[in-house]
């Protein structure tokens, strides 16, 4: 069954309807229902007005298919157009007042750029993950937090409570957020040693997924 769904998904994608396995299952289920209704109409053709039955089906079926497929997607889970491109450069100041950090100078090892804010609830749990992975990958990968739409005082208090293991940069005027196409926080970008974005996490990162994206880049 799984193999059939995979091949169906591939076939539909090449035919112009990009779907994953869940989408292929939806299309299959819809096809079964539509054929069932057609069969029902034919079976009851003496007592039914077939024109209304099939006419209504012809109008409703495409609508149901489109809605069924579309509602499976979260509109905020958007493929970033930046994946595979050079990460937009920025020069931001760390909140502890040390020298400004320029992203294009951070070549030679993979870089993780995490957009967050103190008013973001899911960022709390994610922060612990990032700190743990940052400590583990010390010397092998660089981590930067970019805080936007926030205040230094609040950020300081937050970090005192939650701990810190890497520089936190302040994005004034949300300019870096706009350059990176940030739809909300948290979002995390994985950048390889040549400055090319290899992956974008939308929502809190989980340790396993983060390591999966980071590990192959070490030594690049």
């Amino acid at each position: 069954m799984g193999a059939m769904l995979t091949s169906l998904a591939a076939a539909l994608t090449t035919a112009g309807l990009p779907v994953d396995e869940a989408g292929a299952a939806t299309v299959l289920g819809w096809l079964v229902v539509v054929l069932g209704l057609v069969a029902l109409g034919l079976a009851l053709r003496r007592t039914m007005n077939l024109k209304i039955w099939f006419g209504g089906l012809a109008l409703a079926a495409p609508l149901v298919l489109v809605l069924g497929l579309a509602f499976q997607n979260d509109p905020h889970q958007i493929d970033s157009p930046l994946v595979g491109k050079t990460a937009p450069d920025f020069t931001l100041s760390p909140i502890d007042g040390s020298a400004p950090v320029r992203l294009s100078e951070q070549r030679g090892m993979p870089t993780v750029v995490n957009f967050w804010a103190t008013w973001c609830e899911p960022c709390k749990a994610e922060h612990r993950t990032l700190v743990a992975v940052a400590r583990r990958m010390e010397g092998k990968a660089r981590f930067f937090g970019v805080v936007y739409q926030d205040e230094v005082a609040k950020i300081d208090a937050w970090l005192d409570k939650m701990g810190s293991a890497y520089p936190q940069l302040l994005d004034v005027g949300s300019k870096a957020a706009i350059a990176y196409g940030v739809y909300g926080v948290p979002e995390t970008y994985i950048i390889d040693g040549n400055g090319v974005i290899t992956y974008k996490f939308t929502g809190p990162v989980e340790a396993g997924a983060l390591m999966q994206q980071l590990a192959p880049l070490v030594g690049s």
Binding site: P75, P88, D89, F90, T91, S174, K175, G181, Y183
Partner: protein, 203 residues
């Protein structure tokens, strides 16, 4: 039936009028003590040089508003950057104003944001690929529906006024005539069959 249609129409109109959801989590003003960030994509890398002359004053405000109306506020539900008071939207509007002041035109600015955010940042889908359906389908449905209505009305008209045989009672298109009157079978064959059955049942 008519009441149902009226209810559906009113419901649809009400739904269309409903304002989009209010945006944004609580946001704070950025600290004034930090050094100004320089993020940015030099626009010329992405969209080349400005297509038009730099704008100022009222023209600047107008064009900024016009372009902002075409951009989606990234943290809202269906609001344009022009309408949203979310900080992200205000930041984007500032960037739009910056680009308009330099002389970039609408399509260039849309492409600029599309390079970072993807096509979803446009409020109106581009007229290509599957999106053609979004634009074309309502027009198509209107034309097809109107055509269907016209044909149905004409067919109904033809049924009410048969071309030949005025010997048939004018009531031949209406349901059951009163039993005592029709001893001769009416011209409508279907009705004749029905009438015969009714008479047999009532014997």
């Amino acid at each position: 039936m008519r009441l149902l249609l009226l209810a559906v129409a009113l419901g649809g109109a009400a739904f269309a009028q409903a304002p989009a959801e209010a945006p944004a989590p609580p946001v704070e003003a950025p600290a004034a003590d930090a050094a100004p960030a320089r993020a940015a994509i030099d626009p010329s890398d992405l969209i080349g040089s400005p297509a038009g002359p730099p704008l100022t004053g009222a023209a600047l405000k107008e064009q900024t508003h016009a372009v902002s109306k075409l951009l989606r506020c990234p943290v809202c539900q269906g609001l344009s950057v022009a309408d949203s008071r979310a900080e992200s939207a205000l930041a984007m509007k500032a960037e739009v104003e910056d680009l308009v002041a330099q002389g970039y035109d609408t399509e260039q600015i849309l492409l600029y944001f599309e390079a970072s955010y993807g096509e979803f940042i446009r409020l109106e889908p581009k007229f290509e690929g599957v999106n053609v359906l979004v634009w074309a389908a309502p027009v198509l449905l209107l034309v097809v529906g109107a055509g269907w209505v016209l044909l149905s009305v004409r067919a109904a008209g033809r049924r009410a006024n048969p071309g030949s045989g005025s010997a048939a009672a004018p009531t031949s298109a209406n349901p059951v005539p009163t039993a005592p009157k029709a001893d001769a079978p009416p011209a409508d064959a279907e009705l004749a069959t029905y009438l015969r059955r009714v008479r047999e049942e009532n014997k």
